[in-house]
């Protein structure tokens, strides 16, 4: 605790001495002589402060219509590229860990997945979008974290901490992470970035990123290329049988990601190739003699046209076509003596047409239809789907509607999505929301239904009870108060009830993997965030809490003798994310994550039952120092992650016989970014 004091005092010193020097300077010129054109850039509420610029920036993900963060019908966290760069974040785990309620756990074969609000959201409950492309793989609907996504390319991340199914369908049951990368309108030229990380006893990561963008009149082109090589950890991993190995060299995370986008007027196209490979020895429940690779290969293609129609240009019609081709969780035949071959190629072909109609400036309708076909082929000779065939295919059709009305008293949103799937039937998810900002105060009252669409393997491995979508009801209330021009306090309450969750189980008698709908799940809790932002930098503090008392009915997720929390996820979590500009070129950015007590299974007793163990609370303290443009276009950063050497471990959020997986030890990070045409870089927001 004492180690925190210098950081806080440093912060207070800077705040006291520099914050009041910022002067509202509009009186310094003869503004009466402004031209009409200049006048049209006037803001109704004056020159916004740094904080107001952020909280008034428009969020698209929560409603498909841009609304400010404070009025958007969702509980939203907006993460800017400035915050990402300042913090020295190594990967998306470091970025998302600072979001209230989000934490991580280990699944199987060393794959790390995401949880939110105390609930394991790894399989199909959290949608990750990169430039509109759904990253979730189609076999189990998971996302894989750990030196995976190209964070140097990110312009901003909109995290919707609540359900998004009414807009996005069956992978957005508990939340949406909408990653938007930089386009040629954000930078023109070439940006090179390199990262090296050194853990206590092994290389942490070696990453290289190249971004290029070119804009000429209405034509834009951008390219992002990311090549990463990392070790998940340099610690020893011990399985339930106390068999141990060192993860350095046995937990490689290799990533190649190419993202190409272009647009011309209303037409746009994007192609993303994402090749992610993990290396693991921990397998499902016990260590293997040697490490083997696990591949996640994805290709995404999108072609889209946005036509603005009508005399008043109040109708936008956007047809789009997407093709997603993946081979996730693939194990190679070279290692078939260790692990069973698994190679299933999937494709999703989807067509979507969305109409957005502004009846008036204050009333907007969004309506659309979507169809997709999923196809999977088992590429292993001796393996078949449960229908006895090498190939399965499914068809889904959906329609969605949303009405948004902004009135003087309240903003009102009503929406719904209806899906019909050829295998598991239908899902209907309505939502209603009220939001409003009254000067310094704002509130949100949201009620949403959401669903999780059974994935291809959920359907394939269903038992005799069949398979249907799991349904969730979420109530969220948020209140916010802008304490000063530079600071905002928000607090929200959530209540989640999930019916008929899709749960994995292993049938001992038949020796088969199975999925079925049973039990119930959910959580309730609060999230509080305080943001302060000014010319000197920013300070973000948040705290989140959850309980599952009376909600969780699945034994494998529960902690024996503890009714209020679930495996892997702490009931108390707090984050601090600060950055202080020190002079013209330097910034000092401390980030802290306090992770409360957690529980996880660590072994079995003599009778063969899993034994849960308490993991004490820990503090992840990080510090990153950046120097930007001391040499024109060059940014050099150095820092240390996990200064206190707390050694975070990823706990399995269910009783799956996988021991907690060590994360990285204390890691020294060096980042170098060189912007070849820095002059044309736009101001980062």
């Amino acid at each position: 605790m004492k180690r925190l004091l210098p950081i806080l005092f440093l912060f207070l010193f800077f705040e006291k001495n520099f914050s009041q020097n910022i002067i509202f300077s509009k009186d310094t010129f003869d503004y009466f002589e402004m031209s009409l054109e200049q006048l049209m850039s006037m803001k109704a509420h004056g020159v916004p402060s740094e904080l107001e610029e952020l909280i008034n920036s428009l969020i698209l993900a929560a409603s498909k219509r841009p609304l400010t963060a404070r009025e958007s019908p969702g509980i939203v966290t907006l993460i800017t590229q400035e915050e990402i760069r300042n913090s020295g974040a190594r990967d998306l785990i470091d970025i998302l860990r600072l979001v209230p309620g989000i934490d991580f756990g280990v699944d199987v074969e060393g794959v790390v997945g995401i949880g939110t609000r105390g609930l394991w959201a790894h399989e199909g409950k959290m949608l990750v979008l990169v430039d509109g492309q759904e990253m979730n793989e189609l076999l189990f609907a998971t996302n894989q974290f750990g030196n995976h996504f190209a964070i140097e390319q990110i312009k901003k991340i909109e995290v919707i901490r609540g359900p998004g199914s009414a807009i996005y369908g069956g992978f957005a049951e508990y939340g949406v992470i909408n990653i938007i990368t930089k386009t040629a309108s954000d930078f023109s030229g070439v940006v090179l970035a390199g990262t090296y990380g050194q853990m206590e006893s092994a290389m942490g990561r070696r990453n290289f990123n190249l971004s290029a963008g070119k804009q000429k009149k209405d034509f834009q082109f951008s390219l992002g290329a990311f090549f990463g090589n990392a070790n998940r950890s340099d610690q020893n991993f011990s399985d339930f049988d106390s068999s141990s190995y060192n993860m350095a060299g046995n937990s490689n995370l290799n990533s190649t990601n190419i993202n190409v986008g272009m647009s011309f007027k209303g037409f746009s196209a994007r192609w993303i190739m994402d090749l992610y490979q993990t290396t693991t020895r921990d397998s499902y429940d016990k260590n293997e003699p040697v490490a083997y690779p696990l591949n996640f290969k994805s290709h995404f293609t999108e072609i889209k046209y946005a036509a603005i129609l009508g005399k008043k240009k109040n109708l936008t019609l956007t047809p789009k076509i997407n093709i997603k081709s993946q081979t996730p969780w693939q194990t190679l035949s070279d290692f078939d003596t260790i692990i069973q071959d698994y190679s299933k190629a999937t494709q999703r072909y989807s067509g979507n047409i969305t109409a957005s109609y502004n009846l008036t400036r204050k009333i907007n309708f969004v309506a659309g239809a979507e169809v997709y076909k999923d196809r999977a082929v088992d590429q292993v000779d001796s393996s078949f789907f449960s229908n006895g065939k090498k190939e399965v295919s499914y068809f889904n059709q959906a329609c969605f509607l949303q009405a948004l009305a902004k009135t003087r008293f309240v903003n009102f949103i009503l929406g719904a999505r209806y899906d019909i799937h050829s295998e598991y039937g239908s899902a209907f998810v309505p939502r209603v929301g009220f939001t409003k900002k009254f000067k310094k105060f704002h509130f949100k009252a949201l009620y949403s239904n959401a669903f999780r669409a059974p994935s291809i393997e959920n359907i394939n491995l269903k038992d005799s009870t069949g398979m249907k979508p799991e349904l969730t009801q979420v109530m969220e209330l948020e209140a916010g108060y802008q304490i000063t021009r530079k600071s905002l306090l928000t607090a929200n309450f959530f209540d989640i009830i999930t019916k008929d969750p899709i749960v994995y189980y292993y049938d001992d008698s038949l020796k088969t993997d199975n999925y079925r709908n049973f039990g119930g799940a959910g959580s309730r809790g609060v999230e509080v965030e305080y943001r302060m932002r000014d010319k000197w930098g920013y300070f973000i503090f948040n705290y989140s809490n959850y309980t599952v008392a009376g909600k969780e009915k699945i034994a494998d997720y529960k902690i024996p003798g503890n009714e209020s929390m679930l495996l892997a996820f702490p009931t108390h979590k707090a984050n601090l994310n600060a950055s202080i500009k020190a002079g013209k070129y330097f910034s000092i950015s401390p980030t802290l994550s306090y992770i409360g007590e957690r529980y996880g299974y660590t072994g079995v007793d003599t009778a063969g039952y899993s034994v849960a163990e308490k993991f004490p609370s820990l503090l992840l303290a990080n510090l990153f120092v950046n120097t930007a443009n001391y040499v024109k276009g060059l940014t050099i950063g150095i820092g240390c992650y996990d200064i206190l050497d707390s050694k975070y471990t990823f706990i399995q959020p269910y009783n799956g016989y996988h021991a907690p997986l060590p994360g990285p030890s204390r890691e020294i990070i060096v980042k170098i970014i060189y912007e070849v045409k820095a002059k044309k870089m736009k101001k980062e927001k």
Binding site: L4, M42, N56, Y543
Partner: protein, 176 residues
Amino acid sequence: MNILVKYILASGLFLMIFMGKTERVFSQDADYKAYTLFLYNFMKYIEWPNTEGDFVIGVVGDSPIKQELTTLSENKKAKGRKIVVKIILTSEDALSCNMVYIPSSKSSMLKSIFEKTKTKPILIVGEREGLAKKGAAISFVVDDDDALKFDLNKSVMESQSLKVANLLLQLAILVG
């Protein structure tokens, strides 16, 4: 709860209080400088049939914009005419003005003021969005990104013999 969490929470609370005391200006209130600049440009780009005497701006009731308009009147003229700002309380009072500004809180006065002035060259400007569809010649609009714009009802202005310069029309959102 762990003592560390309490410590961090307490520090956060302290900072909030600390910051609250150092702040004086809130931009969440409307910036009436911006509104005044628009009014000044309306004077420049709209032609009144009568060009004699002072240019009188009537502000309905009490509004912070009066202070800004007074600053304007001390520094600028409306096409050579002295600008006079006064508070008006009734629709009768509007008849002695060239321009009437109706603050949001006095929007209900529009109907009676419009009835009195609809055939007279008196420009009614409403602060609240939508008033240009209900009788005001101009009303302000605040976009989602906080940009200040304005609706303009051309037929109302024509009936009041007010001529609008094309440059202003190009920037206006035409309604009515």
